[in-house]
Symmetry: none
Subunit: 232 residues, 2 copies
DNA sequence: TTGTAACCTTAAGATTTGTTTAAGAACGGA
DNA sequence: TCCGTTCTTAAACAAATCTTAAGGTTACAA
């Protein structure tokens, strides 16, 4: 799952890009000037930015400079000017690519995919799906960090593995045996019946506000556990 | 200094690109078909490739696929076809950018510069990322110097390698085994279980103000070690 | 309503993992 | 070869995590 920030002051363009980037692996954020973009990048974990150059309040080049002070995700500039001079200016300052308006939908999707692939290829060794998000829970397999509503929580290895399993397939119900097999491994040497239950309890204590009335880790009687978006 | 490989079967195009990329920081290599390109990449440390698609013997797409099995430097495709379908094909297979013939000299230089900058920013195993910075720690792979808050510290080779590994991917958690494999080499002849731990201890004594409460080299119980920006 | 099986909760002891020393082995340069 | 540096091993210790077991609670179906 990748978080992509689309920043353009023209609503129509943002909406068009949102349609082009329809993809179950993408979560789309939007901003309408440089200031909003910088704020969003600091608040959320953004993996790629589509950034218009000409915007009110703070232009794209300035925003890019500010973002680059702290972050290094790919930035693709959007520009109406197709003159060479502008292209070169943007790339030299630190953009990774640029796309000129009007867009070709397929090209937008291709360039975004290309940058994301390059990013993960270099940044985090091949593996896909390092960042899982369900409701307010964020799980980063790279840093082994888990946050709930922005607050970091410390999980033990087993708790982490169970949560990761549940978050990989949100809504899917896993029986305790299934969890046991997938987390402990196929060759699991007999562990007691309720050890999974104990870990679930510990997890709930750490990620639920009210462990006794869990919003995220639900039980389906006779079936198993699942994770929900916690909207109730 | 960057090594750039130009691969095109037309001599004129190679020569033109050589002129466009006149730069004291670039060392230029040339190849005239995919086979030559793959061989050169395996022999030399190449930082970026300009790769023509249509070539005799082995075409650019095939060469790129072969190169990508082992390396991940930026690849910019050169193509006479400017139709969208071809652009997208190239990017999806693993190219980082493409340039359509005829070239605009300034654009060639700009795109090459952009990819090289992006490449070094992200850091990479094979790459020429010479200076790493995390928090107050600076590691220069060229001079093998490490400074913490401006003060130079003397690390042993093993300590240096471990620190470098951690700093190449700040935040990423490396299990002791992983560290062992990456620092000692795949063929590591069984070293004791806790030798990594001992080196970590030495590192902490040299880098941390209070080795017992490390700000930089953190442990995630049951997972491994990581380096943090030391903001606490 | 009642019995049963599924699930929950708690805490203590067992186990695993990480830390810290120190000593001796291996290595490399003079 | 000798000496200083670096690496590895081992052992004791400390800390975090896992499992077990026992008793409690809840949901379902007859």
């Amino acid at each position: 799952m990748y978080n992509i920030l689309i920043c353009d002051d023209e609503k129509d363009i943002v909406n068009a890009l949102k349609i082009y980037l329809q993809n179950p692996d993408y979560r789309l954020f939007e901003a309408h000037n440089g200031i909003e973009a910088v704020e969003l990048v600091q608040k959320e974990t953004i993996h790629l930015i589509l950034l218009d150059i000409m915007m009110p309040q703070m232009d794209g080049i300035t925003a890019m400079a500010k973002i680059r002070e702290e972050f290094n995700m790919p930035i693709i500039l959007l520009t109406a000017k197709s003159e060479d001079q502008d292209k070169i200016l943007g790339l030299n300052i630190g953009a990774d690519d640029y796309i000129t308006k009007p867009f070709n939908p397929l090209e937008v999707a291709a360039r975004v995919g290309s940058q994301l692939r390059r990013y993960t290829r270099l940044g985090s060794g091949a593996a896909a799906q390092e960042l899982l998000t369900v409701g307010g829970i964020e799980l980063d397999d790279n840093t082994k960090c888990v946050t709930v509503d922005g607050n970091q929580v410390n999980l033990t290895p087993t708790e982490f593995d169970i949560l990761k399993l549940l978050m990989e397939y949100p809504g899917k119900v896993f029986s305790p045996k299934e969890i046991y097999r997938k987390v402990w491994g196929e060759d699991a040497l007999s562990a007691g019946e309720n050890t999974v239950a104990v870990h679930i309890r510990h997890l709930r204590e750490k990620i639920e506000i009210t462990p006794n009335e869990p919003r995220y880790i639900k039980v389906i009687f006779g079936q198993g556990y699942k994770i929900e978006k916690g909207r109730n």
